[in-house]
């Protein structure tokens, strides 16, 4: 499914289709279920009361080939799990309209987080989720929220099946105290080009050095394709964002990340970049076990990762700081006013990299207030 194209032309990559579709019986006639069925007319489809059968036991890879369409029970909104004690937090909220992702990045934390329920899910009751957001925004009109859908799922990779963006973008376009972030490694932007974001939507891409994308991000689009998609949504009125996360200390990382920065920002209007984040690879014991169990594994497990205060392993601090500083230096050459932040790092690292360690709300404020 990898697409490699000339960055100057653009055509959509081959879109993901599941091996089978599992629909919760009570949701069979929901708009989302009907859309999925209409767009996958030949798919092997099960309509069932018992979705546990959709979970493929211990095979995470098999889970990614099954699409489950179901009602979500419980809250849609959560505080970003990156807001761990001891880390500077950007007060980000995540809104889960599905879980798991069709891509197969070797380092992905979902391998441990969703190990017991890996089937790829989309939720039918989108209106309930948006009502929850609406209540929050109305309760705090003085605050501006950053809310993203790309934490437990790729925000756009299934948009050709669900049209979820067609509900989210108009909803946020009509609000004044929130920014929606759609985070992706895909180039599924066709729906976005037909919508008017009213400056309330940031479409962001997780990006990496080309060598890491090739070796560790199976199924995703190439860096060039992500940039081409970013240029198109930017031209259509969206702000864009980029997340260099996870930064991986591999042979040639300086050249790799510098090249990535040049490829990305060479084609974009940097004044319309909402934010760029940097985050070092984080590894837990369970994620390490999941990576060990993969049929092929790259250099992730042999990197020099050491335990941090939050129990996650990262490359040792001096090297992380060096990586952050280099990337920030190159990013500031591109545009010194681009809003930048680092993810899941303690105040000490912020101080070394930026010269100060802002309070949590201050980070969020800087990001939403940085550019008109």
């Amino acid at each position: 499914m990898r697409a490699t194209r000339d960055a100057t032309s653009w055509e959509p990559a081959q879109r993901w289709v599941p091996d089978s579709v599992w629909i919760e019986r009570t949701e069979e006639n929901s708009p989302l279920a009907r859309r999925v069925q209409a767009r996958l007319p030949g798919a092997l489809t099960y309509v069932t009361d018992d979705l546990t059968a959709a979970e493929p036991g211990d095979s995470f890879a098999a889970g990614k080939r099954r699409l489950v369409v179901q009602r979500h029970r419980g809250s849609f909104l959560q505080h970003c799990p990156a807001g761990t004690t001891g880390m500077v937090c950007c007060n980000y909220l995540v809104m889960n309209f599905g879980s798991n992702c069709p891509f197969d990045c070797s380092y992905c934390f979902l391998q441990e987080y969703l190990a017991n329920n890996p089937a790829l899910k989309v939720f039918t009751n989108v209106a309930d989720g948006l009502a929850e957001v609406d209540r929050l925004l109305r309760a705090h009109p003085e605050r501006t929220f950053r809310i993203g859908t790309g934490e437990l799922a790729d925000s756009l990779a299934l948009d050709h099946l669900t049209d979820l963006s067609c509900e989210l973008v108009p909803f946020f376009a009509a609000r004044t105290n929130a920014l929606l972030e759609l985070k992706t490694k895909s180039d599924c932007i066709e729906n976005l080009l037909r919508l008017d974001p009213q400056d309330r939507v940031v479409v962001s891409w997780s990006v990496n050095a080309p060598a890491i994308i090739a070796a560790e991000e199976a199924g995703t689009t190439s860096l060039e394709a992500r940039v081409a998609a970013a240029a198109r949504v930017q031209a259509a009125g969206y702000k864009v964002g980029f997340h260099f996360d996870p930064l991986i200390a591999h042979d040639g990382w300086e050249e790799g990340y510098r090249d990535a920065i040049n490829v990305i920002f060479g084609r974009l209007d940097t004044r319309r970049v909402a934010w760029v984040s940097l985050g070092s690879l984080r590894m837990t014991g369970r994620l390490k076990a999941a990576i060990k169990a993969r049929p092929q594994r790259g250099p992730l497990l042999t990197s020099e990762l050491v335990p941090g205060p939050d129990g996650k392993d990262r490359v040792w601090r001096g090297l992380r700081v060096k990586m952050y500083r280099r990337l920030l230096e190159w990013l500031r050459v591109v545009d010194e006013r681009m809003p930048l932040y680092i993810c899941m790092e303690p105040a000490g690292v912020w101080e070394k990299v930026f010269g100060d360690a802002p309070a949590d709300r201050e980070v969020a404020h800087r990001l939403v207030a940085a550019r008109p």
Binding site: P299, L301, T302, E304, V306, P307, G308, P309, W316, R317, G318, L319, V321, K322, R325, G348, K352
Partner: protein
């Protein structure tokens, strides 16, 4: 394929140390030479399960990175040298672990070595102890003074003040600040 006598020996050793079944199964899945090398190390150091697993994981990661079998990692010169030292069991385990760590984290170990060298260059008296942050995951040195008199206190403080003005001290903090 592990020969039955090696398998028997592994099961017997693991049984006496009450290893979990999962660890034994993992052990028995190794190539015969690697399983034997691990058994030899375990027996030599009377390793408990967690101790064995720590050494094993590092050795496996070194092997994966450098394209070596587990038995080759355990026979690598720094490990062989540590194993050959005339030390008690605990000190030998520490020495082997330190040697293995240097192989597993070569950049980190090199920086730690350089930092230790810089601390020595400061020529601080024995009453002053400088401790580096663990895994260098922190940017603060810990400096402790032991004093049993005002004079000893003054001497230690004077040595620290003098050291603060040396290039070695500046280099120490520069190296803690960012990887070379």
């Amino acid at each position: 394929m592990i020969e039955s006598d090696v398998e028997t020996a592994i099961r017997a050793y693991a049984g006496t140390r009450m290893y979990s079944a999962a660890t034994v199964e993992r052990w028995l899945r190794l190539a015969a030479r690697d399983a034997g090398a691990l058994l030899q190390l375990a027996t030599e150091l009377r390793l408990g399960e967690n101790q064995l697993r720590d050494l094993w994981d590092w050795a496996e990661e070194i092997g994966e990175r450098d394209g070596l079998a587990l038995s080759q990692v355990f026979a690598a010169p720094p490990i062989a040298a540590a194993r050959g030292r005339a030390l008690g069991r605990n000190d030998k385990l520490k020495a082997i672990k330190a040697a293995l760590r240097c192989l597993r984290y070569p950049q980190l170990a090199a920086v730690e070595g350089r930092l230790a060298e810089l601390v020595r260059t400061l020529q601080l008296p024995r009453s002053v102890r400088v401790t580096l942050p663990e895994h260098l995951e922190g940017d603060q040195l810990r400096v402790e003074i032991a004093a049993d008199s005002v004079a000893a206190w003054r001497a230690a403080a004077a040595a620290l003040l003098a050291a603060a003005d040396t290039p070695a001290c500046a280099a120490l903090f520069a190296l803690l600040d960012e990887a070379p």
